[in-house]
């Protein structure tokens, strides 16, 4: 089994995720892109763990999946509140923290 293929897939996923986070203006899509990044990491972990024949990586991947689920829950709740308050989920419009 070649490790390269997995790592390439993960790298591509990661890059797509980063592009999404930086370029999309829709809050929900940004959240989805974050999921892509996390899953890219998961692929790496599982791939390494399979090649090295340990279970540590898989355990971590499971943890990441659980945490990511919680994170999406919170993130979607925030997006929902944003929508309720401002009738928009365009991230570029939210700049109350401007210095």
């Amino acid at each position: 089994m070649l490790l390269n293929q997995f790592l390439l897939l993960a790298a591509v996923l990661f890059a797509i995720g980063v592009y999404g986070v930086l370029a999309r203006r829709n809050g929900v899509l940004v959240l989805m892109s974050i999921e892509l990044i996390l899953n890219a990491v998961n692929i790496n972990l599982v791939a390494f763990s399979a090649v090295r024949e340990t279970v540590g990586g898989e355990v971590f991947a499971l943890f990441i999946i659980a945490v990511a689920a919680a994170e999406v829950g919170v993130g979607l709740a925030m997006v929902l509140l944003l929508y309720r308050n401002r009738r928009s989920i365009d991230l570029t419009e939210i700049d109350q923290l401007r210095g």
Partner: protein, 751 residues
């Protein structure tokens, strides 16, 4: 963990832990008690709105069952304490000579050892470290189970009337239940990790309940303040727990670390752990106690927490949650006892913090207008008493005071709530006064609670307070002996506080219940759901003190003396061998006289002078028009200092927080202007003195120029830097990814 422990017991003569895996069903299954209110929380949250009484009936029922279970557990413990002869759990460690002697000496001195009932399951296992959850049921845990469930049950009942018609009625009961569950989980915790989790849970419940009426800004501010102040201390808890984990691991052969409370304490007590590590860990844990139990420097959140509904104040900010810190010290006493070298010394950090807190809290209680704030500062002061008692080694006295305090302080808080419910205000000076006729039950229970708090015999507070004073061991003056050291300083602090406590409660009673009514409308006595809990608590405030009559008390058979100490104080190797002081009549009489003098002075001021002035003025006054503060500037300054709460809030918000969040560029500019410029000016003046015009020009043109330029430069740098702060999340993300890329690049280049 269980298997490992018993295996070790059969193979190696290790250090006994003073715990057992046996015991009756009730003691082994104490996890049921926190589970019930937790179920109630879930039930109320999901079905509360559909229930006829908004979910309160579910809360009362389940907390009631938990209370009954706690009583049964207490009964089982009383039987277990003296009669259980099961096998003790040992752990294989290279035990020092000292360890064995120590344990045996301890057991000989106290008779039958109390084997704490230990029941754990492995939560998960990683790299041979087992993370367990479970219960450790022993004296202090059982005592807390009873206190928490009882106060919680009464507060649940009281709340059905107090918050009746509230828009978040169901939500309120849900969180009362969750709070009870977390607190009960905390007291039965078997390991520090579980303790930490439940510690945070009670913090969250406190936050939610203080901010129950969050629509008003002060309430949500108070909730945030409580939460954030507690976060400061929680860091100490996390760090302390981590240090202990690794320290214990270093003493256990072939193990990475351990969270087990019994193991940690036993190893600390046997002298197996490094003293430095224990000292650092104790200091970290102390920070947690300071925030949770409102000790001096981090106590500022507690008075503000009175923004929450009164039942919450009674349950959380007086009787139960704030004693979590005290309980934590009591639980980890082996660590603290060794870490702070409590035995045989005359001062240590814990005793000092406790003593300071008890004094400053009592002083602050004098200047409050709000009845709940008086009680809040009184709570701070009494918590200081408990921490001080633990600091001087009077463990049993501290827990006994916790026990009695829970009853009379809950009684006082609920009483203040009842009075405030009638007049729709907490302000004693403008809206209360003369309530004794309108509210006879509230008045009587409040007075009983106050006497118990002030510590007049034979009410509860007297016995516990006196035991603490005895336990300081610093009273050679009265011919006393014993104690763990000579904490004379703490004794003096305690006695002064006793006088102050009596005086401020006299003031509070006068302002609330005597004189003429100063508010609007006609106040009425509250309904039975408020009055009955008040009377139950007042009754307990009268009798609770008899639970621990001192040894050698006349007219009472020996089997009724020191019952509380006998059943609550562990006689096991996970508990340090503390020395008990012998009580004395002279100290008891002296402290009673001190309390009486406090009552007399305050009583004379309010009941004689102010009363007379009120008659003369024809209206109900709350203080003398020409009192000390108007006559003497020093007294006025002291009063202002107290009203401003020693300026601690200013220190925290204006100086520390303001200083940190202020724009960096402005700060840099100020440094330029203030410091560097000042230095330059001084140089310049010297130059003038030397009469050297060239220097002067150099100074003006070059040095000043540099200074001004650097000032301008940092100011404009700040201006440029703030452009990065666009407030747009994606710009931040871009910076983050860019930084990650740079770091990754550096990593590749280096490696």
């Amino acid at each position: 963990m269980t298997e490992l422990l018993t295996l070790a017991a059969s193979t190696a003569p290790g250090l006994p832990l003073g715990i057992t895996e046996g015991g009756t069903w009730l003691l082994r299954n104490a996890w049921l008690i926190p589970l019930l209110p937790a179920l109630s929380f879930v039930g109320i949250l999901f079905f509360g709105k559909r229930m006829p009484r908004g979910g309160s009936e579910l809360g009362i029922a389940l907390v009631g069952i938990a209370f009954v279970l706690s009583l049964l557990t207490a009964a089982a413990w009383i039987d277990h304490r003296d009669n259980f002869e099961g096998e003790e759990v040992h752990r294989a460690v290279a035990v020092a000579e000292h360890g064995d002697d120590h344990v045996e000496a301890h057991a000989e001195a106290h008779g039958h050892p109390s084997l704490g009932v230990h029941n754990t399951v492995t939560w998960f296992e990683m790299n041979d470290v087992a993370f367990t959850v479970g219960t450790l049921v022993d004296g202090p845990a059982v005592m807390m189970l009873v206190v928490v469930t009882l106060v919680s049950l009464l507060v649940h009942v009281y709340s059905t009337e107090y918050v009746a018609g509230d828009r978040r009625y169901t939500h309120f009961f849900a969180f009362l239940s969750l709070f009870s569950a977390s607190m009960l989980l905390l007291v039965v915790s078997e390991n520090t990790l579980q303790l930490l989790v439940s510690w945070e849970l009670v913090g969250v419940c406190s936050f939610v309940l203080i901010g129950h009426w969050w629509e008003e800004k002060p309430n949500s501010d108070a909730a945030l303040k409580a939460f954030l102040t507690n976060r400061v201390g929680d860091m100490g808890l996390i760090v302390g727990v981590t240090i202990l984990f690794f320290t214990v691991g270093s003493a256990l052969p072939g193990q990475f670390g351990s969270f087990s409370i019994a193991e940690t304490n036993a190893l600390a007590g046997a002298g197996q752990l490094s003293h430095t590590a224990l000292l650092v860990a104790s200091c970290c844990l102390m920070a947690a106690v300071m925030s949770k139990s409102g000790q001096f420097l981090l106590h500022t959140w507690l008075p503000d927490a009175m923004a929450g509904p009164t039942p919450v104040s009674a349950l959380i900010h007086a009787a139960t949650m704030v004693v979590a810190g005290v309980f934590m010290i009591a639980r980890m006493y082996g660590v603290f006892f060794e870490g702070f070298s409590i035995g045989g010394s005359s001062i240590n950090l814990m005793a000092l913090i406790g003593g300071t807190t008890t004094l400053i809290g009592a002083c602050l209680a004098f200047v409050q207008r709000d009845i709940k704030k008086v009680l809040a500062y009184s709570t701070i002061s009494q918590l200081g008493y408990m921490v001080m008692a633990l600091g001087v080694g009077a463990w049993t006295a501290a827990l006994f005071h916790l026990f009695t305090h829970a009853f009379f302080k809950a009684c006082l808080f609920l009483g203040s709530g009842s009075a405030a419910h009638a007049v729709h205000s907490f302000d004693m000076k403008s809206d209360m006064g003369g309530l004794r006729k309108a509210m006879p039950h509230t008045y009587r229970t409040f007075v009983i609670g106050s006497i118990a708090l002030a510590g007049l015999p034979p009410l509860a507070g007297f016995w516990s307070k006196d035991e603490i004073l005895v336990g300081t061991g610093g009273w050679g003056l009265f011919g006393g002996t014993g104690g763990n050291g000579a904490y004379t300083f703490m004794l003096i602090m305690g006695v002064i506080t006793a006088a102050l406590t009596a005086a401020y409660m006299t003031r509070c009673i006068y302002l609330t219940f005597f004189g003429e009514f100063r508010g609007h409308g006609t106040p009425h006595e509250s309904g039975p759901r408020i009055v009955v809990p008040l009377w139950i608590l007042a009754g307990l405030a009268i009798v609770a003190g008899f639970g621990n009559l001192p040894k050698g008390f006349p007219l009472v058979p020996e089997s009724f003396q020191e019952r509380f100490g006998h059943f609550v104080e562990p006689v096991a190797s996970y508990f340090p061998s503390i020395t008990h002081a012998t009580p004395s009549w002279s100290l008891a009489i002296a402290s009673t006289l001190v309390v009486l003098s406090g009552v007399t002075v305050a009583g004379w001021y309010y009941f004689v002078k102010v009363e007379a002035a009120s008659k003369a003025a024809g209206e109900s006054l709350t203080e003398l028009p020409d009192g000390l503060t108007t006559k003497y500037p020093l007294a006025r300054m002291g009063h202002t200092l107290l009203v401003q709460k020693y300026y601690l809030d200013h220190l925290y918000t204006d100086v520390i927080a303001g200083g940190t969040k202020g724009p960096v560029a402005a700060a840099a500019y100020k440094v330029d202007q203030g410091v560097i410029d000042g230095v330059v000016d001084a140089v310049g003046e010297n130059a003038v003195k030397a009469g050297n015009l060239v220097y002067h020009r150099f100074d003006q043109l070059v040095v000043d120029g540099i200074v001004n330029t650097s000032g301008r430069a940092s100011s404009s740098a700040g201006g440029e830097l703030r452009k990065i702060q666009t407030g747009k999340v994606q710009d931040y993300a871009a910076i983050l990814f860019a930084a990650a890329m740079v770091l990754a690049g550096v990593l590749i280049v280096i490696v």
